[in-house]
Symmetry: C2
């Protein structure tokens, strides 16, 4: 596991009853010096998963109480309820004794499907974004992302370069693109909270930055290996707040994650 950057940077070690030690790193930072919130959620989810009776995260929500800084951190977990097909838990990530992120999550077995799923209806009211193959998409030089260290660890290939890269925000806060870990690690469900929060925020096309207040991720299927087709979009920027929706589709054309965050517009 430790051979890949994501696994190394989300590893947790038991340090007490329902308590784990972790290390927050600046290797996945966005445009600011704050530790990536999706990475913090992934650390919490990894610790939570160790005590869950089901293998897959199904939904996870995070409240971002304080900005995280690199260094030693502690995750405390609790199992809130274990049912027949779903289990619920909570995790709290702290640094220097101060809580940074509060996470709640449900786990299930997405291989088995939900109870009664075999007989249930199926409806697919959308598909992956229509993108040229990754080899024909735009490649952004890592330097285009300025201070964002995450650009060294996640490959990002949109059909066309976003306007903000050229210093000309395009005014339309949405984008389709391919994504994958740069070191060849295939994505899994544990990586989804990071992946849905790892690209330049849609509001950069409005000339702004973003600070996440809350992020909820639905996990809908275990991803197949390979490139992930992604769609990020913001529809409402009002009164200093905005939402960002994110979809991740795997190489088999299945929706694997759907997320929404509420964030402060930072100008």
């Amino acid at each position: 596991m430790g051979d890949y950057a994501f696994d190394a940077d989300t590893s947790v070690s038991p340090s007490g009853r329902d308590e784990f030690s972790a290390t927050l790193t600046d290797r996945w930072n966005g445009m600011t010096s704050v530790v990536n919130g999706g990475l913090e959620m992934a650390i919490c989810l990894r610790a939570l998963g160790l005590g869950m009776p089901f293998p897959d995260p199904l939904v996870v929500s995070g409240l971002f109480l304080r900005p995280g800084t690199p260094g030693s951190a502690t995750v405390r977990t609790s199992l809130l309820r274990s049912g027949r097909t779903t289990a619920f838990g909570e995790a709290s990530l702290s640094r220097d004794g101060k809580e940074i992120v509060r996470v709640t999550a449900a786990f299930a077995d997405l291989g088995a499907g939900a109870a009664g799923a075999v007989a249930g209806p199926v409806f697919v009211g959308g598909g992956p974004p229509g993108l040229p193959p990754p080899s024909e998409c735009a490649r952004l030089p890592v330097a285009a992302f300025g201070p964002a260290t995450i650009a060294e660890r996640i490959e990002f290939r949109p059909a066309e370069l976003p306007g903000w890269v050229r210093g000309e925000p395009g005014g339309r806060p949405s984008m389709d693109f391919w994504m994958r870990f740069a070191d060849g690690r295939d994505a899994d469900l544990l990586a989804m909270p990071l992946l849905v929060d790892c690209t330049a925020p849609s509001v950069m096309e409005l000339g702004a930055l973003s600070a996440t207040i809350e992020l909820t991720v639905h996990l809908r299927a275990r991803p197949a290996p390979g490139w992930l087709a992604c769609r990020a979009s913001t529809r409402f920027v009002v009164g200093g707040y905005h939402e960002e929706d994110f979809e991740i589709w795997d190489s088999s054309g299945a929706l694997v994650a759907q997320s929404r965050q509420l964030a402060l517009v930072v100008t």
Copy 2:
């Protein structure tokens, strides 16, 4: 406050330090005998709000651990963090010593807007559903909702009757409609968790019912008085799970709430 059903049924009384007593009622039930989950979240939000330094809920997430039954309940709250413009809290609703719902929330002042909002960008990438005036929309007899007591307390006016009412699910799990409290109470932000979870689930148009696992609501503006224009839609029903998105627009044309839930398909 007690003159209106919603206020009476979400009232909480202090019963200890950070502890409140509440009563769960079956007056807002949907198609099953389970207490409405949105009502349970509204009760938690009301209790949380009593200890918050800001007046408005900004985002609230609920994990539904167990089905609620009518009767006496307890809400325990904690203030997780109070910042300059945002405060965070958690609430837990229990009945007979068992936790039913775990809620996390952020509060802010939506009257003041977020810090720096005055200079920030505004983008509105969507509008309210195009509906005929409420007086020209379909009115469903309360009996059409079968066991759903909520139909006595919330008026629901779609442009056309949904197929499931005629016993002919239409196959398209989305709907636009007007909504308001039947007793004349105007909606406020505290009511939003109930209102986004109070109509027949979109999957009824696929011949199924729904059991919510997680619900997150973004509160975007204090609602103006009057009818609310609503849009409910489900895009992905796969493996026994589905999401449902919900938007509520007020009579001035402003988006006031945007929600998404992850739910089990019940057949």
